[in-house]
Protein backbone atom coordinates (compact mmCIF):
# COMPACT_ATOMS: atom_id res chain seq x y z
CA UNK A 1 0.00 0.00 0.00
CA UNK A 2 1.04 3.61 -0.47
CA UNK A 3 1.33 6.13 2.34
CA UNK A 4 1.77 9.88 2.07
CA UNK A 5 4.05 10.94 4.89
CA UNK A 6 5.64 14.38 5.11
CA UNK A 7 4.76 15.06 1.48
CA UNK A 8 6.57 11.99 0.26
CA UNK A 9 4.91 8.84 -1.05
CA UNK A 10 6.14 5.60 0.46
CA UNK A 11 5.40 2.09 -0.73
CA UNK A 12 4.96 -0.07 2.36
CA UNK A 13 4.31 -3.75 2.77
CA UNK A 14 2.21 -4.20 5.91
CA UNK A 15 -0.88 -6.02 7.11
CA UNK A 16 -4.00 -3.87 7.09
CA UNK A 17 -4.24 -3.87 10.88
CA UNK A 18 -0.61 -2.96 11.57
CA UNK A 19 -0.43 0.13 13.77
CA UNK A 20 0.77 3.16 11.83
CA UNK A 21 3.40 3.68 14.53
CA UNK A 22 5.15 0.40 13.65
CA UNK A 23 5.26 1.36 9.99
CA UNK A 24 6.63 4.83 10.68
CA UNK A 25 9.30 3.72 13.13
CA UNK A 26 10.25 0.19 12.13
CA UNK A 27 9.60 0.06 8.40
CA UNK A 28 10.40 3.65 7.46
CA UNK A 29 12.95 4.41 10.17
CA UNK A 30 11.44 7.73 11.26
CA UNK A 31 12.06 7.45 14.96
CA UNK A 32 11.06 10.95 16.02
CA UNK A 33 7.60 9.59 16.79
CA UNK A 34 7.85 7.70 20.08
CA UNK A 35 6.34 4.55 21.51
CA UNK A 36 5.12 4.92 25.07
CA UNK A 37 2.23 2.68 25.98
CA UNK A 38 0.77 1.24 22.79
CA UNK A 39 -2.69 1.69 24.30
CA UNK A 40 -3.71 5.22 23.32
CA UNK A 41 -3.03 6.40 26.84
CA UNK A 42 0.12 8.53 26.71
CA UNK A 43 0.21 10.37 23.39
CA UNK A 44 3.94 9.85 22.74
CA UNK A 45 3.06 8.44 19.32
CA UNK A 46 0.95 11.40 18.18
CA UNK A 47 1.11 12.33 14.49
CA UNK A 48 -1.09 14.48 12.28
CA UNK A 49 -3.45 12.90 9.76
CA UNK A 50 -5.04 15.53 7.51
CA UNK A 51 -4.19 18.08 10.18
CA UNK A 52 -5.88 16.17 13.03
CA UNK A 53 -3.85 14.65 15.82
CA UNK A 54 -4.10 10.85 16.05
CA UNK A 55 -2.32 8.32 18.19
CA UNK A 56 -0.35 6.23 15.74
CA UNK A 57 -0.19 3.22 18.06
CA UNK A 58 -3.96 2.73 17.70
CA UNK A 59 -4.30 3.69 14.07
CA UNK A 60 -4.54 0.72 11.71
CA UNK A 61 -2.42 1.60 8.73
CA UNK A 62 -5.15 0.67 6.24
CA UNK A 63 -7.23 3.53 7.59
CA UNK A 64 -4.75 6.25 6.59
CA UNK A 65 -4.06 5.24 3.01
CA UNK A 66 -4.63 8.26 0.77
CA UNK A 67 -4.42 10.71 3.64
CA UNK A 68 -1.74 13.28 4.44
CA UNK A 69 0.37 12.20 7.42
CA UNK A 70 2.78 14.60 9.16
CA UNK A 71 5.35 13.50 11.71
CA UNK A 72 7.65 15.50 13.95
CA UNK A 73 10.39 15.26 11.31
CA UNK A 74 8.46 17.64 9.04
CA UNK A 75 6.43 19.64 11.51
CA UNK A 76 8.45 22.79 10.87
CA UNK A 77 7.38 22.79 7.23
CA UNK A 78 3.95 23.66 8.59
CA UNK A 79 3.52 27.34 9.47
CA UNK A 80 1.74 26.64 12.77
CA UNK A 81 4.07 23.78 13.60
CA UNK A 82 7.03 26.03 13.10
CA UNK A 83 5.64 28.56 15.58
CA UNK A 84 4.92 25.78 18.09
CA UNK A 85 8.49 24.48 17.93
CA UNK A 86 9.80 28.04 18.32
CA UNK A 87 7.62 28.53 21.40
CA UNK A 88 8.85 25.21 22.80
CA UNK A 89 12.44 26.39 22.41
CA UNK A 90 11.63 29.84 23.75
CA UNK A 91 10.05 28.36 26.87
CA UNK A 92 12.62 25.55 27.18
CA UNK A 93 9.77 23.08 27.55
CA UNK A 94 11.61 19.81 27.09
CA UNK A 95 13.30 17.97 29.90
CA UNK A 96 14.18 14.42 28.75
CA UNK A 97 12.24 15.14 25.58
CA UNK A 98 10.68 11.72 25.12
CA UNK A 99 7.08 12.94 25.16
CA UNK A 100 7.74 16.21 23.38
CA UNK A 101 7.27 15.23 19.75
CA UNK A 102 3.79 14.11 20.74
CA UNK A 103 3.20 17.30 22.74
CA UNK A 104 4.21 19.43 19.76
CA UNK A 105 1.80 17.46 17.54
CA UNK A 106 -1.04 17.95 19.97
CA UNK A 107 -0.38 21.68 20.26
CA UNK A 108 -0.06 22.10 16.50
CA UNK A 109 -3.35 20.32 15.81
CA UNK A 110 -5.09 22.39 18.45
CA UNK A 111 -3.83 25.71 17.11
CA UNK A 112 -4.50 24.81 13.47
CA UNK A 113 -8.18 24.26 14.29
CA UNK A 114 -8.54 26.83 17.04
CA UNK A 115 -5.97 29.62 16.86
CA UNK A 116 -7.24 31.20 20.08
CA UNK A 117 -8.31 28.25 22.21
CA UNK A 118 -10.09 28.71 25.52
CA UNK A 119 -8.61 27.26 28.69
CA UNK A 120 -11.14 24.45 28.44
CA UNK A 121 -10.16 23.68 24.86
CA UNK A 122 -6.50 23.67 25.83
CA UNK A 123 -7.23 21.33 28.74
CA UNK A 124 -9.13 18.96 26.45
CA UNK A 125 -6.42 18.96 23.77
CA UNK A 126 -3.20 18.91 25.78
CA UNK A 127 -3.61 15.60 27.56
CA UNK A 128 -0.44 13.75 26.59
CA UNK A 129 1.50 12.38 29.52
CA UNK A 130 4.95 13.64 30.49
CA UNK A 131 6.99 11.55 32.88
CA UNK A 132 9.22 14.54 33.60
CA UNK A 133 6.27 16.70 34.57
CA UNK A 134 6.83 19.53 32.11
CA UNK A 135 3.14 20.37 32.23
CA UNK A 136 3.66 23.91 33.52
CA UNK A 137 6.09 24.73 30.72
CA UNK A 138 3.73 23.22 28.15
CA UNK A 139 0.90 25.28 29.58
CA UNK A 140 2.95 28.47 29.38
CA UNK A 141 4.04 27.79 25.80
CA UNK A 142 0.52 27.00 24.55
CA UNK A 143 -0.95 30.06 26.25
CA UNK A 144 1.79 32.22 24.74
CA UNK A 145 0.99 30.81 21.30
CA UNK A 146 -2.74 31.39 21.81
CA UNK A 147 -2.03 35.01 22.79
CA UNK A 148 0.14 35.73 19.73
CA UNK A 149 -2.23 34.14 17.19
CA UNK A 150 -2.03 36.17 13.97
CA UNK A 151 -5.08 38.34 13.27
CA UNK A 152 -6.07 36.71 9.93
CA UNK A 153 -6.48 33.30 11.61
CA UNK A 154 -8.42 34.94 14.47
CA UNK A 155 -11.08 32.92 16.21
Amino acid sequence: MQLRINQTTYEVDAEADTPLLWVIRDDLGMTGTKYGCGLAQCGACSVLVDGNVVRACVTPVAGVVGREITTIEAIETDEVGKRVVAAWVENQVAQCGYCQSGQVMAATALLKHTPKPSDEQIAAAMVNLCRCGTYNAIHTAVHALAAQAPKQEGA
Binding site: D17, T18, P19, L39, A40, Q41, V54, R55, V58, T59, P60, A62, G63, E120, Q121, A123, A124, V127
Partner: protein, 448 residues
Protein backbone atom coordinates in the same frame (compact mmCIF):
# COMPACT_ATOMS: atom_id res chain seq x y z
CA UNK B 1 -60.55 -42.70 67.46
CA UNK B 2 -58.88 -45.46 69.45
CA UNK B 3 -55.17 -45.89 69.68
CA UNK B 4 -55.23 -49.06 67.58
CA UNK B 5 -57.32 -47.57 64.81
CA UNK B 6 -54.95 -44.56 64.64
CA UNK B 7 -52.04 -46.94 64.27
CA UNK B 8 -53.93 -48.79 61.58
CA UNK B 9 -54.65 -45.59 59.67
CA UNK B 10 -51.02 -44.52 59.91
CA UNK B 11 -49.93 -47.91 58.76
CA UNK B 12 -52.20 -47.70 55.75
CA UNK B 13 -50.87 -44.23 54.93
CA UNK B 14 -47.28 -45.32 55.36
CA UNK B 15 -47.48 -47.74 52.48
CA UNK B 16 -48.08 -45.17 49.71
CA UNK B 17 -45.57 -42.81 51.36
CA UNK B 18 -42.91 -45.50 51.35
CA UNK B 19 -43.72 -46.41 47.80
CA UNK B 20 -43.50 -42.73 46.76
CA UNK B 21 -40.21 -42.32 48.62
CA UNK B 22 -38.87 -45.44 46.98
CA UNK B 23 -39.92 -44.24 43.55
CA UNK B 24 -38.36 -40.84 44.21
CA UNK B 25 -35.11 -42.42 45.36
CA UNK B 26 -35.08 -44.54 42.24
CA UNK B 27 -35.87 -41.58 40.00
CA UNK B 28 -33.23 -39.26 41.34
CA UNK B 29 -30.40 -41.76 41.29
CA UNK B 30 -31.25 -43.87 38.29
CA UNK B 31 -28.99 -44.01 35.29
CA UNK B 32 -31.09 -42.90 32.33
CA UNK B 33 -31.14 -45.10 29.27
CA UNK B 34 -28.50 -44.28 26.67
CA UNK B 35 -29.36 -44.56 23.01
CA UNK B 36 -25.79 -45.72 22.51
CA UNK B 37 -25.85 -48.53 25.08
CA UNK B 38 -25.52 -51.25 22.48
CA UNK B 39 -22.95 -49.52 20.30
CA UNK B 40 -19.54 -51.12 20.05
CA UNK B 41 -16.67 -49.42 21.92
CA UNK B 42 -14.81 -46.65 20.10
CA UNK B 43 -12.36 -47.75 17.49
CA UNK B 44 -9.19 -45.76 16.97
CA UNK B 45 -10.48 -44.51 13.64
CA UNK B 46 -8.51 -41.34 12.83
CA UNK B 47 -11.37 -39.84 10.83
CA UNK B 48 -13.78 -40.35 13.72
CA UNK B 49 -11.29 -38.87 16.21
CA UNK B 50 -10.81 -35.86 13.98
CA UNK B 51 -14.56 -35.47 13.64
CA UNK B 52 -14.78 -35.65 17.43
CA UNK B 53 -12.15 -32.97 17.79
CA UNK B 54 -14.28 -30.70 15.63
CA UNK B 55 -17.38 -31.47 17.72
CA UNK B 56 -15.31 -30.61 20.82
CA UNK B 57 -14.47 -27.28 19.17
CA UNK B 58 -18.12 -26.65 18.37
CA UNK B 59 -19.02 -27.49 21.97
CA UNK B 60 -16.11 -25.49 23.45
CA UNK B 61 -15.34 -28.24 25.99
CA UNK B 62 -11.88 -26.77 26.49
CA UNK B 63 -13.25 -23.48 27.83
CA UNK B 64 -14.16 -25.07 31.15
CA UNK B 65 -12.23 -28.34 31.26
CA UNK B 66 -8.80 -26.74 30.75
CA UNK B 67 -6.95 -23.99 32.54
CA UNK B 68 -4.26 -21.92 30.78
CA UNK B 69 -1.29 -23.46 32.62
CA UNK B 70 -2.77 -26.96 32.84
CA UNK B 71 -2.74 -30.01 30.60
CA UNK B 72 -5.56 -30.06 28.03
CA UNK B 73 -8.87 -31.26 29.53
CA UNK B 74 -7.43 -32.09 32.95
CA UNK B 75 -10.02 -29.78 34.56
CA UNK B 76 -9.57 -27.39 37.44
CA UNK B 77 -11.37 -24.25 36.29
CA UNK B 78 -13.06 -22.62 39.24
CA UNK B 79 -16.63 -21.59 38.58
CA UNK B 80 -18.44 -19.37 41.02
CA UNK B 81 -22.08 -20.30 41.62
CA UNK B 82 -24.48 -18.52 43.95
CA UNK B 83 -24.13 -21.48 46.33
CA UNK B 84 -20.33 -21.74 46.32
CA UNK B 85 -17.51 -22.53 43.92
CA UNK B 86 -17.29 -25.72 41.88
CA UNK B 87 -14.42 -26.97 39.74
CA UNK B 88 -14.52 -28.38 36.23
CA UNK B 89 -13.45 -32.00 36.15
CA UNK B 90 -10.72 -34.01 34.48
CA UNK B 91 -12.11 -35.40 31.22
CA UNK B 92 -8.87 -36.87 29.91
CA UNK B 93 -8.91 -40.65 29.38
CA UNK B 94 -7.01 -41.32 32.62
CA UNK B 95 -8.83 -44.35 34.08
CA UNK B 96 -8.75 -43.31 37.74
CA UNK B 97 -9.00 -39.50 37.81
CA UNK B 98 -10.45 -38.90 34.35
CA UNK B 99 -13.08 -40.61 32.22
CA UNK B 100 -10.92 -43.44 30.89
CA UNK B 101 -13.19 -46.05 32.46
CA UNK B 102 -16.35 -44.63 30.87
CA UNK B 103 -18.18 -46.77 28.36
CA UNK B 104 -19.75 -44.99 25.40
CA UNK B 105 -23.08 -45.20 27.23
CA UNK B 106 -21.55 -43.69 30.40
CA UNK B 107 -20.10 -40.86 28.31
CA UNK B 108 -23.43 -40.31 26.59
CA UNK B 109 -25.26 -40.17 29.93
CA UNK B 110 -22.83 -37.56 31.22
CA UNK B 111 -22.87 -35.39 28.10
CA UNK B 112 -26.52 -35.56 27.08
CA UNK B 113 -28.25 -36.34 30.36
CA UNK B 114 -25.97 -34.83 33.00
CA UNK B 115 -25.62 -38.10 34.89
CA UNK B 116 -22.27 -39.60 35.93
CA UNK B 117 -21.77 -43.35 36.40
CA UNK B 118 -23.54 -44.50 39.56
CA UNK B 119 -26.38 -42.05 38.99
CA UNK B 120 -24.71 -38.95 40.45
CA UNK B 121 -26.22 -35.84 38.86
CA UNK B 122 -23.86 -33.27 37.33
CA UNK B 123 -24.38 -29.60 38.07
CA UNK B 124 -25.98 -27.85 35.11
CA UNK B 125 -22.85 -25.68 34.89
CA UNK B 126 -22.12 -28.48 32.46
CA UNK B 127 -24.45 -27.38 29.65
CA UNK B 128 -26.08 -30.78 29.22
CA UNK B 129 -29.52 -29.17 28.71
CA UNK B 130 -28.00 -28.00 25.39
CA UNK B 131 -25.76 -30.98 24.72
CA UNK B 132 -28.90 -33.15 25.06
CA UNK B 133 -29.54 -32.14 21.45
CA UNK B 134 -26.27 -33.61 20.14
CA UNK B 135 -26.75 -36.26 17.51
CA UNK B 136 -25.77 -39.88 18.24
CA UNK B 137 -23.03 -39.59 15.62
CA UNK B 138 -21.54 -36.50 17.21
CA UNK B 139 -21.55 -38.11 20.66
CA UNK B 140 -19.82 -41.17 19.24
CA UNK B 141 -17.19 -38.95 17.58
CA UNK B 142 -16.67 -36.94 20.76
CA UNK B 143 -16.19 -40.14 22.72
CA UNK B 144 -13.59 -41.33 20.23
CA UNK B 145 -11.75 -38.01 20.51
CA UNK B 146 -11.72 -37.96 24.31
CA UNK B 147 -10.62 -41.57 24.44
CA UNK B 148 -8.02 -41.68 21.73
CA UNK B 149 -7.22 -38.10 20.80
CA UNK B 150 -6.60 -36.64 24.25
CA UNK B 151 -3.56 -37.50 26.35
CA UNK B 152 -4.47 -39.13 29.69
CA UNK B 153 -3.48 -37.00 32.68
CA UNK B 154 -3.63 -38.22 36.27
CA UNK B 155 -4.97 -35.19 38.10
CA UNK B 156 -7.50 -35.54 40.87
CA UNK B 157 -10.60 -33.39 40.72
CA UNK B 158 -10.93 -30.50 43.17
CA UNK B 159 -13.95 -30.97 45.43
CA UNK B 160 -16.66 -28.34 45.16
CA UNK B 161 -17.16 -25.78 47.92
CA UNK B 162 -20.94 -25.85 48.11
CA UNK B 163 -21.87 -26.65 51.74
CA UNK B 164 -24.16 -29.49 52.88
CA UNK B 165 -27.11 -29.88 52.35
CA UNK B 166 -27.00 -27.67 49.26
CA UNK B 167 -24.38 -29.97 47.77
CA UNK B 168 -26.79 -32.92 47.62
CA UNK B 169 -27.01 -33.86 43.97
CA UNK B 170 -30.26 -35.78 43.82
CA UNK B 171 -32.58 -32.73 43.69
CA UNK B 172 -30.94 -31.88 40.36
CA UNK B 173 -32.76 -34.89 38.93
CA UNK B 174 -36.06 -33.18 39.70
CA UNK B 175 -34.74 -29.95 38.16
CA UNK B 176 -33.78 -31.94 35.06
CA UNK B 177 -37.26 -33.41 34.91
CA UNK B 178 -38.80 -29.94 34.78
CA UNK B 179 -36.27 -27.92 32.81
CA UNK B 180 -34.66 -30.16 30.19
CA UNK B 181 -36.01 -31.57 26.96
CA UNK B 182 -35.18 -35.16 26.20
CA UNK B 183 -33.85 -36.34 22.88
CA UNK B 184 -31.44 -35.13 20.22
CA UNK B 185 -32.28 -32.27 17.87
CA UNK B 186 -35.03 -33.27 15.46
CA UNK B 187 -34.85 -31.51 12.09
CA UNK B 188 -37.90 -29.44 11.21
CA UNK B 189 -39.51 -30.69 8.04
CA UNK B 190 -40.62 -27.20 6.97
CA UNK B 191 -37.08 -25.82 7.08
CA UNK B 192 -34.16 -26.50 4.75
CA UNK B 193 -30.97 -28.35 5.75
CA UNK B 194 -28.93 -25.18 6.27
CA UNK B 195 -31.46 -23.74 8.72
CA UNK B 196 -31.68 -27.06 10.53
CA UNK B 197 -27.89 -27.31 10.76
CA UNK B 198 -27.81 -23.79 12.21
CA UNK B 199 -30.55 -24.62 14.73
CA UNK B 200 -28.66 -27.74 15.73
CA UNK B 201 -25.39 -25.85 16.23
CA UNK B 202 -26.93 -22.96 18.16
CA UNK B 203 -29.17 -25.05 20.43
CA UNK B 204 -26.89 -28.06 20.80
CA UNK B 205 -23.09 -28.07 20.71
CA UNK B 206 -22.74 -24.27 20.49
CA UNK B 207 -24.89 -23.91 23.62
CA UNK B 208 -25.33 -20.21 22.81
CA UNK B 209 -28.34 -20.05 25.11
CA UNK B 210 -26.23 -20.84 28.17
CA UNK B 211 -25.18 -17.20 28.16
CA UNK B 212 -27.62 -15.49 25.80
CA UNK B 213 -30.94 -16.87 27.08
CA UNK B 214 -32.38 -15.27 30.21
CA UNK B 215 -32.71 -17.56 33.21
CA UNK B 216 -35.65 -18.22 35.47
CA UNK B 217 -35.80 -18.39 39.24
CA UNK B 218 -34.28 -21.86 39.34
CA UNK B 219 -31.37 -20.72 37.11
CA UNK B 220 -33.00 -22.58 34.29
CA UNK B 221 -32.71 -21.22 30.76
CA UNK B 222 -36.17 -19.91 29.98
CA UNK B 223 -36.15 -21.55 26.57
CA UNK B 224 -34.05 -24.16 24.80
CA UNK B 225 -35.24 -23.48 21.27
CA UNK B 226 -36.97 -20.93 19.03
CA UNK B 227 -40.48 -21.90 20.14
CA UNK B 228 -40.20 -19.24 22.84
CA UNK B 229 -39.35 -15.59 22.31
CA UNK B 230 -37.06 -15.81 25.33
CA UNK B 231 -34.61 -17.98 23.39
CA UNK B 232 -31.26 -16.14 23.07
CA UNK B 233 -33.05 -12.88 23.87
CA UNK B 234 -30.14 -11.52 25.95
CA UNK B 235 -29.21 -12.12 29.56
CA UNK B 236 -27.13 -10.79 32.40
CA UNK B 237 -24.46 -13.24 33.51
CA UNK B 238 -21.20 -13.00 35.47
CA UNK B 239 -20.99 -9.23 35.25
CA UNK B 240 -21.65 -9.09 31.50
CA UNK B 241 -24.78 -8.58 29.47
CA UNK B 242 -24.80 -11.26 26.79
CA UNK B 243 -26.82 -9.46 24.10
CA UNK B 244 -29.82 -10.70 22.21
CA UNK B 245 -28.99 -12.89 19.22
CA UNK B 246 -32.43 -12.23 17.73
CA UNK B 247 -33.40 -9.65 15.13
CA UNK B 248 -33.48 -6.77 17.59
CA UNK B 249 -31.92 -3.67 15.99
CA UNK B 250 -30.62 -2.27 19.29
CA UNK B 251 -29.68 -5.12 21.58
CA UNK B 252 -29.53 -7.90 19.02
CA UNK B 253 -28.44 -8.70 15.48
CA UNK B 254 -31.15 -6.70 13.70
CA UNK B 255 -28.65 -4.48 11.85
CA UNK B 256 -26.29 -7.34 11.02
CA UNK B 257 -26.41 -9.31 7.79
CA UNK B 258 -25.82 -13.05 7.70
CA UNK B 259 -22.33 -12.33 6.34
CA UNK B 260 -21.69 -9.94 9.25
CA UNK B 261 -22.58 -12.67 11.76
CA UNK B 262 -20.49 -15.37 10.09
CA UNK B 263 -17.55 -12.96 9.71
CA UNK B 264 -17.77 -11.93 13.36
CA UNK B 265 -17.63 -15.54 14.54
CA UNK B 266 -14.75 -16.28 12.14
CA UNK B 267 -12.54 -13.21 12.70
CA UNK B 268 -13.79 -11.87 16.04
CA UNK B 269 -14.73 -8.52 14.57
CA UNK B 270 -16.76 -6.66 12.00
CA UNK B 271 -17.88 -3.10 11.38
CA UNK B 272 -20.43 -3.33 14.22
CA UNK B 273 -18.46 -4.83 17.07
CA UNK B 274 -15.40 -6.69 18.33
CA UNK B 275 -15.74 -9.68 20.66
CA UNK B 276 -15.21 -8.82 24.32
CA UNK B 277 -16.06 -10.12 27.76
CA UNK B 278 -16.83 -13.82 27.91
CA UNK B 279 -17.36 -13.91 24.14
CA UNK B 280 -13.61 -13.48 23.64
CA UNK B 281 -13.09 -16.91 25.15
CA UNK B 282 -15.87 -18.42 23.06
CA UNK B 283 -14.24 -16.89 20.00
CA UNK B 284 -10.63 -17.74 20.85
CA UNK B 285 -11.40 -21.36 21.66
CA UNK B 286 -14.43 -22.22 19.61
CA UNK B 287 -16.17 -20.13 16.96
CA UNK B 288 -13.08 -19.26 14.89
CA UNK B 289 -12.53 -22.98 14.32
CA UNK B 290 -15.99 -23.56 12.89
CA UNK B 291 -16.22 -24.27 9.17
CA UNK B 292 -17.53 -21.56 6.86
CA UNK B 293 -20.59 -23.71 6.12
CA UNK B 294 -21.37 -24.08 9.81
CA UNK B 295 -20.94 -20.35 10.43
CA UNK B 296 -23.22 -19.57 7.51
CA UNK B 297 -25.80 -21.99 8.94
CA UNK B 298 -25.62 -20.34 12.37
CA UNK B 299 -26.06 -16.92 10.78
CA UNK B 300 -29.00 -18.14 8.74
CA UNK B 301 -30.74 -19.60 11.78
CA UNK B 302 -30.14 -16.59 14.03
CA UNK B 303 -31.46 -14.21 11.38
CA UNK B 304 -34.70 -16.23 11.38
CA UNK B 305 -35.42 -15.37 15.01
CA UNK B 306 -37.73 -12.35 15.19
CA UNK B 307 -36.92 -9.39 17.42
CA UNK B 308 -39.30 -7.83 19.90
CA UNK B 309 -39.76 -4.04 19.60
CA UNK B 310 -41.44 -3.98 23.01
CA UNK B 311 -38.29 -5.28 24.69
CA UNK B 312 -35.83 -3.60 22.32
CA UNK B 313 -37.28 -0.08 22.04
CA UNK B 314 -37.18 2.31 19.07
CA UNK B 315 -34.52 1.38 16.53
CA UNK B 316 -31.27 3.31 16.85
CA UNK B 317 -30.50 5.99 14.25
CA UNK B 318 -27.09 7.61 13.99
CA UNK B 319 -26.92 11.30 14.91
CA UNK B 320 -23.65 12.90 13.87
CA UNK B 321 -21.94 15.07 16.47
CA UNK B 322 -18.33 15.55 17.52
CA UNK B 323 -17.71 14.99 21.20
CA UNK B 324 -15.26 17.91 21.03
CA UNK B 325 -18.18 20.29 20.51
CA UNK B 326 -19.97 19.08 23.63
CA UNK B 327 -17.19 19.62 26.16
CA UNK B 328 -19.62 21.12 28.67
CA UNK B 329 -21.47 17.80 29.01
CA UNK B 330 -20.41 15.68 32.00
CA UNK B 331 -18.15 12.87 30.82
CA UNK B 332 -17.37 14.51 27.47
CA UNK B 333 -13.92 15.66 28.54
CA UNK B 334 -13.04 12.13 29.63
CA UNK B 335 -14.38 10.80 26.34
CA UNK B 336 -12.36 13.23 24.25
CA UNK B 337 -9.14 12.62 26.14
CA UNK B 338 -9.29 8.88 26.81
CA UNK B 339 -11.73 7.26 24.41
CA UNK B 340 -11.74 9.25 21.18
CA UNK B 341 -8.29 8.15 19.96
CA UNK B 342 -9.73 4.74 19.20
CA UNK B 343 -13.51 5.13 19.14
CA UNK B 344 -13.46 8.49 17.36
CA UNK B 345 -14.87 11.91 18.25
CA UNK B 346 -17.94 10.94 16.21
CA UNK B 347 -18.25 7.59 17.98
CA UNK B 348 -17.79 5.60 14.80
CA UNK B 349 -14.64 3.66 15.71
CA UNK B 350 -12.15 2.63 13.03
CA UNK B 351 -13.34 0.14 10.43
CA UNK B 352 -13.46 -3.32 11.99
CA UNK B 353 -10.46 -2.80 14.26
CA UNK B 354 -11.83 -0.46 16.89
CA UNK B 355 -15.55 -0.88 17.43
CA UNK B 356 -17.98 2.02 17.10
CA UNK B 357 -19.76 3.14 20.25
CA UNK B 358 -22.46 4.82 18.20
CA UNK B 359 -25.14 2.15 17.97
CA UNK B 360 -23.20 -0.34 20.12
CA UNK B 361 -25.32 -2.82 22.06
CA UNK B 362 -23.53 -1.82 25.25
CA UNK B 363 -24.73 1.75 24.68
CA UNK B 364 -28.32 0.78 23.90
CA UNK B 365 -29.10 -2.08 26.29
CA UNK B 366 -30.84 -1.14 29.49
CA UNK B 367 -28.39 -3.42 31.29
CA UNK B 368 -25.28 -1.36 32.01
CA UNK B 369 -23.02 -4.25 33.07
CA UNK B 370 -21.07 -4.73 29.84
CA UNK B 371 -20.32 -1.03 29.38
CA UNK B 372 -19.10 -0.74 32.97
CA UNK B 373 -17.18 -4.00 32.99
CA UNK B 374 -15.24 -3.37 29.78
CA UNK B 375 -14.34 0.14 30.96
CA UNK B 376 -13.19 -1.01 34.39
CA UNK B 377 -11.37 -4.11 33.27
CA UNK B 378 -10.54 -3.81 29.59
CA UNK B 379 -10.64 -6.64 27.10
CA UNK B 380 -8.75 -9.87 26.75
CA UNK B 381 -6.61 -10.43 23.68
CA UNK B 382 -8.49 -11.61 20.65
CA UNK B 383 -6.32 -14.41 19.27
CA UNK B 384 -6.96 -15.36 15.65
CA UNK B 385 -5.15 -18.36 14.21
CA UNK B 386 -2.58 -18.09 16.98
CA UNK B 387 -1.90 -14.38 16.46
CA UNK B 388 -3.01 -11.89 19.14
CA UNK B 389 -4.66 -8.76 17.80
CA UNK B 390 -2.86 -5.43 17.74
CA UNK B 391 -5.46 -3.49 19.70
CA UNK B 392 -7.28 -4.04 22.90
CA UNK B 393 -9.36 -2.03 25.32
CA UNK B 394 -7.22 -0.97 28.30
CA UNK B 395 -8.53 -1.27 31.86
CA UNK B 396 -9.44 2.05 33.43
CA UNK B 397 -10.12 0.80 36.96
CA UNK B 398 -6.97 2.41 38.38
CA UNK B 399 -7.33 5.50 36.28
CA UNK B 400 -10.92 6.64 36.70
CA UNK B 401 -13.21 6.92 39.71
CA UNK B 402 -16.66 5.37 39.88
CA UNK B 403 -18.15 8.77 39.16
CA UNK B 404 -15.89 9.48 36.19
CA UNK B 405 -16.75 6.11 34.66
CA UNK B 406 -20.45 6.65 35.30
CA UNK B 407 -20.25 10.06 33.62
CA UNK B 408 -18.31 9.03 30.56
CA UNK B 409 -20.56 6.01 30.01
CA UNK B 410 -23.67 8.11 30.51
CA UNK B 411 -22.24 10.48 27.88
CA UNK B 412 -21.63 7.61 25.45
CA UNK B 413 -25.05 6.12 26.12
CA UNK B 414 -26.81 9.40 25.35
CA UNK B 415 -24.83 10.64 22.31
CA UNK B 416 -24.93 9.75 18.56
CA UNK B 417 -28.52 8.55 18.85
CA UNK B 418 -27.68 6.09 21.62
CA UNK B 419 -30.49 5.81 24.13
CA UNK B 420 -29.24 3.53 26.89
CA UNK B 421 -30.06 4.69 30.39
CA UNK B 422 -27.57 6.74 32.41
CA UNK B 423 -25.00 4.80 34.46
CA UNK B 424 -24.92 5.36 38.23
CA UNK B 425 -21.65 5.54 40.17
CA UNK B 426 -22.94 2.92 42.61
CA UNK B 427 -23.39 0.42 39.78
CA UNK B 428 -19.74 0.99 38.87
CA UNK B 429 -18.68 0.57 42.49
CA UNK B 430 -20.51 -2.73 42.74
CA UNK B 431 -18.95 -4.22 39.62
CA UNK B 432 -15.54 -2.85 40.58
CA UNK B 433 -15.73 -4.88 43.76
CA UNK B 434 -16.72 -8.14 42.08
CA UNK B 435 -14.47 -8.09 39.04
CA UNK B 436 -10.77 -7.84 38.18
CA UNK B 437 -8.78 -6.53 35.21
CA UNK B 438 -8.62 -8.67 32.08
CA UNK B 439 -5.27 -10.30 31.43
CA UNK B 440 -3.08 -8.45 28.94
CA UNK B 441 -1.40 -11.67 27.84
CA UNK B 442 -2.92 -13.77 25.11
CA UNK B 443 -4.59 -16.85 26.59
CA UNK B 444 -4.85 -19.82 24.28
CA UNK B 445 -6.20 -23.14 25.47
CA UNK B 446 -4.66 -26.05 23.58
CA UNK B 447 -6.74 -29.16 22.87
CA UNK B 448 -3.84 -31.53 22.20
Amino acid sequence: MTRSSTAKTLGVLAVPCLVAAGLLAWYVTREPASALADSPAAAADPALIQRGEYVARLSDCVACHSVPEGAPFAGGLKMATPLGAIYATNITPDPSTGIGAYSLADFDRAVRHGVAPGGRRLYPAMPYPSYAKLSDDDVRALYAFFNKGVRPVAQANTPGEIPWPLNLRWPIALWNGVFTDAGPYAAKADQDPQWNRGAYLVQGPGHCGSCHTPRGLAFNEKALNEHSEAFVAGALLDGWYAPSLRNDPNTGLGRWSEADIAGFLKTGRNQHAVVYGSMTEAYNNSTQFMSDEDLAAIARYLKSLPGDPKRDGPAWQYQAVSAATRLEAPGAHTYVTLCASCHGLEGRGQAEWMPPLAGATSALAKETASAINITLNGSQRVVTAGVPDAYRMPAFREHLSDREIAEVLSFVRSTWGNHGAAVQAKEVAKLREHTGPASASPIILQMR
